[in-house]
């Protein structure tokens, strides 16, 4: 059968490495315009697109992810935003070519002879994309490399089996570079432990969303309009992930499109009515508010104590309050998208995730409140809580360097 026909509309598993925000934005825009769907898991994907600079610490989990894709499959990487177009084209060419696929089949057959997929117990701390199997601590070895689950006290007094499930580092709509190790009983999270953020190899990129503030800090000329634009785009990006996780694909696409247009420099007056319509529709959705209400409560007081300074602290409440705060911030910035005044200092304007201080980036505080918010929550709420805080792990990386614009 024709491989070419199968490669006509590849489903792409977009995997973002630390420092890969710009590449991710470019990739999401390209995929939207090409109508190549974003896969949610490796099983559904044909094309593995790795966005961001190479990261030695994540090579092993990335390799496992790649093994998880069903044949025919292709793997391409785009270290920066300008490499995305070429990577996607070459990926499709690989998918459609017989030789490329034969290589993969041969390689996987070879790997199978040597034991196939790694047994589950051997998986490193990097975690896998989707935790396979009800595996746990100790006990005897079971067929298939699985071990018996351990038990422990739980909320409902049922002493259910404990399931150890890593979330991240590669999940759709998940902050890249974040890994949380969960201990689940039933669907209740008993423990949430953060893994250390994985630093990219070589020099790290400057955090894309905080770029205007970093430039202002360095004394470069940045306009207030540019900062407002970047902030609104960052909120739209966070909203698009939250909406995707919360399950509103139609508005997710709208949010991404608005974000891309903002970053591409569409004039403010043209954007204002579209943003207005989007914020009204999402902000007024009672169903969305109903589905996200009462989870991940973070009071203004508690947030301030942990050092949270941005919309999350101002919202002071649950997931619903936090996304409504983003929407309010977007509406507030509507008239300022083209402001020519110069941004005096980084402190003058709030960066997307809070007051920008190079030594204490606002995302660091967001990450520290995560375990407490996750413990006791249900699995369905966990993703919503993380998405509603949306820490930008790139801010936590030590090294900085110029970033290029996301568009080619």
């Amino acid at each position: 059968m024709s491989l070419r026909a199968a490669a006509a509309r590849p489903r792409v598993l977009l995997t973002v490495l630390p420092g890969g925000t710009a590449a991710r934005l470019a990739a999401e825009r390209q995929l939207r315009l090409r109508d190549w769907p974003l896969a949610a898991s490796p099983a559904q994907a044909d094309l593995l697109l790795v966005a961001g600079p190479d990261c030695p610490g994540l090579r092993a989990p990335l390799e496992r992810l790649w093994q998880d894709l069903p044949t025919p499959a292709a793997r391409v990487s785009a270290p920066g935003a300008d490499a995305v177009q070429a990577a996607l084209d070459s990926g499709r060419a690989q998918l459609g070519s017989r030789e490329g696929q034969l290589d993969r089949i041969r390689a996987s057959a070879g790997a199978h002879r040597h034991g196939g997929r790694p047994a589950k117990g051997e998986e490193g701390p990097g975690g896998v994309h989707d935790g396979h199997g009800p595996h746990g601590h100790g006990g005897m070895e079971m067929p298939g490399g699985l071990s018996m689950a351990g038990v422990g006290e739980d909320r409902d007094g049922l002493t259910l089996d404990q399931l150890h499930l890593p979330l991240g580092p590669f999940l759709a709509d998940w902050p890249s570079g974040l890994t949380v190790h969960l201990v689940l009983q039933g669907d209740v999270i008993q423990q949430a432990n953060l893994a250390d953020p994985i630093a990219p190899g070589g020099e790290g990129a400057a955090p894309f969303w905080a770029q205007p503030w970093i430039q202002a800090d360095a004394g470069e000329p940045v306009t207030a309009g540019e900062a407002a634009r970047r902030r609104s785009a960052a909120h739209l990006d966070s909203l698009s992930r939250l909406l995707s996780v919360a399950g509103w694909p139609a508005q997710t696409v709208v949010a991404r499109r608005l974000r891309d247009d903002l970053l591409a420099g569409a004039p403010g007056p043209a954007m204002a009515p579209r943003l207005e319509r989007f914020t009204r529709r999402v902000g007024r959705s009672r169903t969305l508010a109903w589905a996200t209400r009462g989870i991940g409560e973070l009071s203004t007081q508690g947030g301030k104590q942990a050092g949270v300074s941005g919309p999350a602290a101002r919202a002071g409440g649950d997931v619903t309050d936090r996304y409504r705060q983003w929407l309010a911030d977007i509406r507030r910035d509507l008239g300022r998208l083209d402001q020519p005044a110069r941004l005096q200092a980084a402190e003058a304007e709030e960066s997307p995730r809070g007051r920008w201080r190079a030594q204490h980036p606002p995302s660091a505080a967001l990450v520290t409140v995560l375990p407490a918010l996750l413990t006791g929550a249900e699995l369905a709420a966990a993703r919503l809580i993380v998405a509603s805080l949306d820490p930008d792990m790139d801010e936590l990386l030590p090294t900085r360097r110029e970033v290029r614009a996301p568009h080619d």
Binding site: M142, R155, W290, G294, I295
Partner: protein, 189 residues
């Protein structure tokens, strides 16, 4: 009974028995549950073919829901739910086998020895209608009793299965609003 019905009975009855035996021979709890489901769905089919489509369909519908929920309990409470490590969960196997074989032999002997009476009356035009008229008329007492039994079951099962009472939810003076629940609900909380 026409030929189609007889053929259908064979094709439903034999699997019903086979799946029934599989319930106690398979290792995986999930497979056990669904073998029982398959067996009972076949029973529903047999009842339908025998001329009671309403009851047959109700059995199918109910058993699917019941068995799927049963699977949840199986996996929550039983060790080794996937049957990855085969082990015997039987006790007194020989005794059970002897008793059930003797009962089966006695029943079969009875079936073929007892002089069954012949047909009494004709098949009603609509069997569903017959059941409904009976339950809402002469057999009303049965229906009412079944209703109370079901209500008692609902209350009793809930009381047995929950640990938290109203004092846990509403505080010692029953005045705490909203209730203290581990997870919020969809209405009013």
């Amino acid at each position: 009974m026409d030929v189609t019905s007889t053929v259908l009975l064979v094709f439903l009855g034999v699997p019903a028995l086979v799946f029934g035996v599989l319930v106690f021979t398979l290792n995986s709890m999930a497979r056990v549950t669904f073998a029982l489901l398959a067996s009972l769905v076949c029973v529903g089919g047999v009842v339908t073919v025998l001329g009671l489509p309403y009851l047959g369909m109700v059995i199918v519908l109910m058993m699917v829901m019941e068995m799927v929920i049963m699977a949840v309990f199986m996996i929550a409470y039983m060790m080794n739910p996937a049957g990855l490590m085969p082990m015997s969960m039987l006790h007194n196997k020989r005794g059970a086998l002897v008793i059930s074989s003797v009962v089966f032999a006695a029943l079969v002997a009875g079936i073929f020895v007892v002089p069954w009476p012949g047909h009494a009356g004709a098949l009603p035009r609509d069997t569903t209608f017959q059941a409904g008229m009976a339950l809402m008329g002469p057999q009303m007492l049965t229906m009412v009793t079944l209703g109370f039994v079901l209500l008692a079951t609902m209350v009793g099962a809930t009381v047995l299965a929950t640990r938290r009472g109203r004092y846990d939810r509403f505080g010692d003076d029953l005045d705490q609003r909203p209730a203290r629940d581990p997870a919020g609900g969809g209405v009013g909380r």
